[in-house]
């Protein structure tokens, strides 16, 4: 996708970046939020220490197209399961879920099995992340 196509694809999209659990490392979440905003999306950031229910509730209330979860504490399996469970409870079936952070390679398939659209790690270029979201939300 060219930068123009990417911007066009993200232009009308609302994306929630969430920090579930107690993990306090937020620089990655903020970098992704700023990047997606610069790419044309409307971005909402939850701030630290949100419960899965709080994140799902904000996602529904704000009518977002996607939720990006940033987790670096090693608790990604539990927390992603819970957020997706809460989204289902709230019947928010159209909202795509992305995960970023310290996620071991062997857990990527597990997370995708839960319904996660893509998993990102810190070494990936931001362009790759933006492109993947744009394609997924197009």
């Amino acid at each position: 996708m060219s930068a123009q196509q990417t911007s066009a694809a993200l232009a009308a999209k609302r994306i929630l970046i969430g920090k579930p659990g107690l993990d306090g490392h937020d620089i990655g979440a903020k970098i992704i939020a700023l990047t997606l905003r610069n790419a044309g999306a409307e971005v909402i950031y939850t701030g630290l220490r949100r419960s899965p229910l709080q994140i799902a509730q904000v996602a529904v209330d704000e009518g977002v197209d996607a939720v990006g979860l940033s987790i670096l504490s090693g608790s990604h399996k539990e927390l992603v399961t819970d957020v997706i469970g809460q989204l289902r409870e709230l019947k928010a079936h159209g909202i795509k879920v992305f995960v970023g952070g310290t996620i071991p390679a062997e857990d990527h398939a597990y997370l995708r099995g839960l319904g996660v659209a893509a998993v990102f790690t810190a070494d990936m270029p931001l362009e790759t992340v933006v492109d993947a979201l744009a394609k997924s939300l197009a």
């Binding site: 620089i27 903020k30 310290t102 071991p104």
Partner: protein, 541 residues
């Protein structure tokens, strides 16, 4: 979809030597003698300590090799500590799990997925008794990486010592206890800034009296650095935070000549060699000058910037992991030329997994080779007087002062944090660094340049814990609730609340009493939250 298969659409810039460093300081291709101002430099061990705080450098005393380790249950950590002590190590380093760091008991819904994950769960005194069982606390030094609940964990340590019959005055160790950087970069804040500053002042002043050999704070720049701050910003934010603590302590009746001797600092060392050395030399000079000129401090020991460092962190990358061995060795040399008092070297695989025994040992060996084989530690500040280094130290000092002036102009550290101004600056810096890495402007060998095709590195094992850890922690916790004397708990918590409501009273003795009564971290934090409220994170991206 597999993201790793995608190549960037834009070809990376060719690697070039940039004419300046990330701190924004121009680096000329040549510097001559006119750049050196000898009167600014001074002698080692003399004001303004540009060349080090001791006249005899490391020949007088080598730096401390301090490795960070340990997670799981108190029982497992206790076994590990006994092993390390048997091996001749004298300093322990305790990592706490996130519920303990954020002030939640294991039974809290937010705690459940995180129990015992990134450190030990120390929810009450009984866990601390297990952690330090059969260890002589008068002989070991214990370093706790703890901030939001530092005063409580310190109180718990005193209570364990009391129970073991160890005089409090004999205790040595460190609590990180630096809340300001938690608001900016590490995220384990609990209370609003004002009462948090009080809690830190209470704990430092109490420690000065009761445990005079204990370091009650380690003012840390490491976390903002790892999040994206430049070396100059790391030093500037840290010194600004340090001055904020000094002001708070003085406002609460502390004697700066006394408490300043127990302030310690903590920084990262990344790979830009002279930028790092200049950062430490400039920082040492600036702190000494602040102490002397701003507060009239006379005792040289109270003018010293004593600091530990971490070599590695975000300067290490997962692709071609053995390259990290070289990075850490160069960073360790920069720490030595910079005059660090203690050094922690990251293992080369730390960027993508829990270090193995092999990589952890290599990290220690790196320090030992640099200490005893290279000879660079023999003479104090051997690069002192170098045209370039002295000029670079001056430029670094100017840059640090410039950043500090920007914080002052905004209204000071506390306001900048409450408004989210520093947090936003840091996020922008992090984005800038990431974009420079993505574009290839910031060269990282093996990651964005000089990468072989078909190389695949994924994140390996992280925090894979016995799944019964949480269950066992919850069972032990329930047992404590069932067997402790509830009347004593309630009474001690009531006295804590009363003290917290009175701004001129120290909460420390009451926290120690609560610990003795087996009140939990969550209960103590709950009392303080009732009096002080909670920090409202400014989310203004």
């Amino acid at each position: 979809m597999n993201m790793r298969d995608q190549t960037p659409a834009v070809p990376l810039a060719e690697p070039v030597l940039s004419p300046g460093n990330r701190s924004g300081i121009p680096v000329p291709p040549s510097v001559d003698a006119s750049a050196v101002q000898p009167e600014r430099i001074g002698k080692p061990g003399e004001y303004p300590f540009t060349r080090g705080i001791f006249p005899d450098g490391y020949q007088g005393r080598l730096w401390t090799i301090r490795q960070y380790s340990g997670f799981g249950t108190a029982e497992e950590s206790n076994e590990r500590y006994k092993f390390l002590l048997d091996q001749g190590q004298t300093g322990l380093s305790v990592a706490l799990d996130l519920p303990t760091q954020c002030g939640y008991d294991p039974t809290h819904p937010m705690a459940r997925p995180e129990i015992g994950k990134v450190g030990v769960s120390l929810s009450n005194l009984s866990e601390a008794e297990i952690l330090f069982k059969d260890l002589d606390l008068s002989k070991i030094s214990t370093s706790f990486t703890i901030n939001g609940t530092a005063a409580i964990i310190y109180a718990m340590y005193l209570a364990v010592a009391d129970k073991q019959g160890v005089p409090r005055g004999k205790l040595t160790g460190t609590i990180q206890n630096d809340i300001l950087k938690e608001y900016v970069a590490r995220g384990t804040w609990i209370f609003p800034v004002r009462p948090s500053m009080r809690l830190i002042a209470d704990s430092i002043l109490y420690s000065n009296e009761v445990t005079p050999r204990f370091n009650p704070i380690s003012i840390a720049g490491a976390h903002v650095r790892d999040a994206g701050a430049t070396a100059a910003e790391e030093m500037a934010y840290t010194l600004a935070n340090g001055l904020a603590y000094v002001d708070e302590l003085r406002a609460r009746g502390g004697d700066v000549e006394k408490f300043a001797k127990r302030l310690s600092f903590f920084f990262y060392v990344h790979l830009d060699f002279f930028e790092e050395i200049a950062k430490f030399r400039a920082g040492r000079r600036l702190w000494a000058r602040f102490m002397k000129e701003r507060y009239g401090v006379q005792d040289p020991k109270a003018q010293h910037l004593r600091f530990g460092v971490v070599c590695g962190g975000s300067s290490l990358v997962a692709p071609q992991p053995y390259n990290n061995v070289v990075r850490v060795a160069v960073e360790t040399m920069a720490a030595v030329f910079g005059g660090a008092q203690s050094i922690f070297t990251c293992a080369f695989d730390e960027a993508f997994q829990i270090p193995t025994e092999f990589s952890a040992e290599l990290a220690v060996r790196t320090q030992q080779m640099i200490a005893f084989e290279t000879g660079i530690a023999r003479t104090v500040d051997p690069l002192g007087g170098s045209y370039f280094l002295e000029q670079h130290t001056d430029r670094m000092e100017e840059m640090v002062l410039k950043v500090m002036a920007e914080i002052d102009a905004y209204g000071g550290v506390e306001k900048a944090i409450e408004d989210g101004w520093i947090q936003m600056r840091l996020a922008e810096r992090g984005l800038e660094r990431k974009l420079d890495t993505d574009s290839g402007k910031n060269v990282i060998v093996g990651q964005n340049h000089f990468r072989k095709t078909g190389e695949e590195v994924g994140i390996g094992e992280i925090f894979t814990l016995d799944s019964t850890v949480a269950q066992r922690a919850l069972e032990k916790f329930q047992r404590v609730l069932d067997t402790r004397g509830q009347t004593a708990v309630d009474a001690s918590l009531a006295r804590l609340s009363h003290a917290a409501a009175n701004d001129r009273e120290s909460v420390m003795p009451y926290l120690v009493d609560c610990c003795h009564a087996y009140a939990t971290v969550g209960e103590m934090v709950g009392c303080l939250k009732k009096e002080w409220g909670e920090f409202k994170e400014p989310v203004n991206l």
